[in-house]
Subunit: 303 residues, 2 copies
């Protein structure tokens, strides 16, 4: 692991790819590797890119990559799809769109999709960010495909969160009020050559002006398919990154909590769980007694 | 709690409402109450209603409630919104639409929305289902507002899962392939008076026919706003419920696992977590060492 870590530190692409696979597949050596790499991390800026399906997140990401590469920055891209039943087809499209960067060693791209493990995807995303950070990628773009709580958990790992919207979303703009306000740092109105871009901008401003804690939020109009507005978007993202106090401790609290869940669930014995489930399904035991017993068994096995 | 449980068993509406609040707010007495009620459960049929925003899930749910009530069944409805950033506005609309049942003691409705607690919403939904079951509600409709992994977790609690789609969704139908196939029991093509209903049906059939494990899936065309097709939808849902082996043990495995996560996270000491996060953010400690220490501290506190 020390050798692999050293090669990653030196920017060896094959070592990086191998390490990404080790981490993505939750292989046993992942932890030792990440322990080695951890002291090298903390340099990269992580940008989260989120928004509803059809907003053009992948095209925006792609154009941001181009802009960053034009400046000579080393870039990492993670396209995360928690396999929402209604967005599951998107990953392949992303991969194809991203192929134009395939020959460029300055862009490292991974698509991530898992389902069923609570917190597992967010944990893998975080660890891949640490890997890319240790490998000297200065800018990491984490693009989420879906729009659920999982994506919010993932986006919370980012230093700067970009929300991509498009004109003509109707009621969906109303819904911005709900959860996105907490995490949004920059809004992009993509496909802004379509009717309704001005109105959308006004609506976003109104939402933030009338919030519990009113604040001004940068809004940039883009037409990502032609690269329009991308320079301005990147400037706004950087402005936020420079001016926003980096909430590293709070971020790590969330991250450690997620790691804890994963670690504890990994300790649940499958046979005990099955046995308990049978007893509960047959109403021989209530689920609370069963869970209390499972916790006891788990602790007993560790001690 | 024994008294409250007894009143719930007898169908007392005020007791039911009070218990629902106790459970929804995760109040300390919830567990004792649910232990009391658990032996009474296992009678209700739980129907999950899911689908993308705008498909008309609330209207479908509303019409299903009417049809069930016309048969004299006691009904429970849980509208679950994991506060996806893009769907957060919907709950209020649901509440308003559901008000026509307000005066009917045979329909008990709760809207549920929480965010931030991994697994917490699914756990609360399950417990409210157990409560409604114990209170003699024969049919429980769990409607999810969003479309992410959280919703999938919630819908997995159901005996029969209904996926509501609408014509003209474009690429989204492709995405059915991804995750919904595992959980869908019945498809409703709502707003089927709009162009594209036939094509959508063909596409759904094609997806299931060419699947890894091909199967026939019931597809019912509805226009929920006028009640059209609802009788047929309910018949299809019941047909599935009768013919599908009830996977109670597997269901309880998922449920117990979720309860375990919640219980274990509840045991994490906030001060220890903050202390560990500070050490990690400052790179004084790597996160793996920190998490291992947190696990030890947690176990130590329990022993």
């Amino acid at each position: 692991m020390q050798d692999l870590a050293e090669r990653i530190r030196q920017g060896d692409l094959r070592a990086l790819a191998r390490a990404a696979t080790i981490i993505e597949n939750r292989m046993p050596q992942a932890e030792a590797l990440l322990r080695e790499l951890f002291p090298l991390t903390g340099q990269a800026v992580i940008y989260g890119i989120t928004g509803p399906p059809g907003a053009g997140k992948s095209t925006v990401t792609n154009e941001l990559v181009k802009a960053l590469r034009a400046e000579g920055a080393m870039v990492g891209v993670l396209a995360v799809d928690p396999s929402s039943p209604f967005s599951g087809g998107a990953i392949l499209g992303d991969r194809i769109r991203m192929q134009q960067h395939h020959a460029d060693a300055g862009v490292f791209i991974r698509s991530l999709a898992t389902r069923g493990s609570l917190g597992g995807l967010a944990a893998a995303t975080l660890e891949l960010c640490l890997l890319l950070d240790a490998a000297g990628r200065q800018s990491i773009l984490v693009e989420t495909v879906g729009v659920g709580q999982d994506e919010v958990d993932i986006v919370r790992l980012a230093d700067v969160t970009v929300v991509v919207l498009v004109p003509g979303m109707g009621d969906d703009v109303q819904a911005i009020k709900a959860g996105i306000m907490e995490i949004a740092d920059v809004f992009l109105i993509n496909k802004s050559d379509q009717p309704g871009a001005e109105r959308l901008e006004q609506e976003i401003r109104a939402v933030f002006a009338t919030a519990h804690q009113p604040r001004e939020i940068p809004i940039v109009k883009t037409v990502a398919s032609s690269g329009q507005g991308i320079t301005e978007a990147l400037a706004a993202m950087r402005q936020v990154q420079v001016s926003k106090p980096r909430q590293a401790v709070q971020q790590w609290e969330r991250r450690l909590r997620q790691m804890l869940v994963e670690r504890l669930l990994g300790r649940v014995d499958a046979a005990s769980l099955r046995h308990a489930s049978e007893a509960v399904a047959a109403r021989r035991e209530d689920p609370y007694t069963a869970v209390a017993r499972l916790v006891e068994t788990m602790l007993g096995r560790i001690r």
